[in-house]
């Protein structure tokens, strides 16, 4: 039976959460193979670090005997360079596949108490509105969902309708993009 609480009827309360945060525009890569490739996590993260590419989101599931998948998101502006590097610079076994997706975004719900319920509510409510889910990960204090960047506002609205957020608290939208530079400014005397 569909839990009434998801629709926030008068008889049941919606799950209370603290807030929402939206990411900047990201792109996503999925590397998938029939078995664990030794050090794939280390290799990929090393290549990305060498290009000064911050990983905004990463999930990995390894399995000695079955499929193994590494998925991660980078800033959208890194897509061309990362595609080239991953397709040419990464020595994966030939049976491994690389798929990519541009223009994705991350919506983070915090805090993450009742993470399974939050997961269920977002899956059901986004599914009903044909909003895709491309990835999910919990962190220390939140649950993050990857979806289509072009419909992020709609995705946020649906979450706001399905969960109870504090009054007058708008989703946090990033206004700055951070780059870590190697430039070191020393104090001038």
């Amino acid at each position: 039976m569909w839990p009434l609480s998801l629709y926030g009827t008068d008889t049941m309360e919606k799950l209370k959460v603290g807030g929402l945060r939206q990411s900047l525009e990201l792109c996503k890569f999925d590397l998938r193979g029939p078995e664990s490739s030794d050090g794939i996590l280390a290799n990929v993260s090393r290549i990305l670090a060498s290009q000064k590419s911050n990983i905004a989101f990463l999930t990995y599931k390894g399995n000695k005997d079955k499929c193994c998948q590494l998925s991660f998101c980078l800033n959208q502006d890194l897509f061309p360079r990362a595609s080239k590097i991953l397709n040419k610079g990464l020595r994966l076994p030939t049976v491994w596949e690389i798929e990519s997706r541009e223009h994705v975004g991350m919506i983070t719900v915090f805090p993450r108490h009742s993470a399974i319920i939050i997961l269920g509510v977002v899956m059901a409510s986004w599914g009903a509105e044909s909003i895709p889910i491309y990835g999910i990960a919990t962190s220390l204090s939140a649950v993050s969902f990857i979806t289509d960047y072009r419909i992020m506002d709609k995705a946020v609205e649906v979450v706001q309708d399905s969960l109870q957020l504090p009054r007058n608290r708008a989703p946090i939208k990033p206004e700055l993009q951070y780059y870590q530079s190697e430039v070191i400014k020393r104090n001038k005397r």
Binding site: S45, R46, I55, L119, M123, W126, I133, S139, S141
Partner: protein, 162 residues
């Protein structure tokens, strides 16, 4: 206007390592076209008290694969609920596993954090069962026997802020 802020540290600082052990790693897949029914199953009130220490989900083709870590006691409740969801593949589980997780200043905005973590574990021949990194957190799921060794390795890679 351009503002350059420089933040560099060697070694990378973290706020400390947290560990959770005696967990069951559960994995199942579900057709994406049926995700509404999976959502309904997971949002049942019966699961409200089930505390997942770690959750990731990955899409592949027409399916979504969900991996989560629960305590041995909560695994039973979860399995019973999930069994009622139509379309789910059989649950696979691994026991015992442990999680080591940590976070640090601006981890989500800086490159090199994942590389430092995974390279250190790889060089120590510690097999990573699963991992999830988002916001400022790094979560690594390992065979329980590897947790202490992983903490030792990571403690030499990162500096715990005092």
């Amino acid at each position: 206007m351009e503002t350059i802020a420089v933040y560099w540290e060697q070694p990378i600082k973290t706020y400390g390592f947290q560990k959770v052990t005696d967990l069951v790693l559960i994995e199942f897949s579900y057709p994406l076209k049926e995700i509404i029914s999976l959502g309904r199953t997971l949002s049942r009130d019966a699961l409200q008290m089930v505390k997942a220490e770690f959750i990731i989900a990955q899409e592949f083709g027409e399916m979504i694969s969900v991996t989560l870590c629960l305590s041995e006691k909560e695994y039973g409740d979860f399995w019973v609920s999930l069994a009622q969801a139509p379309g789910s593949t059989p649950c696979e589980y691994t026991y015992p596993v442990g999680i080591i997780y940590f976070h640090g200043p601006h981890f989500g905005d800086r490159y090199g954090i994942a590389e430092a973590s995974f390279s250190a574990l790889s060089q120590a021949d510690i097999e990573i069962v699963a991992s999830g990194c988002s916001a400022s957190s790094v979560f690594v799921v390992l065979a329980q026997d590897d947790i202490a060794r992983a903490e030792n390795v990571l403690s030499h890679t990162f500096e715990v802020a005092k």
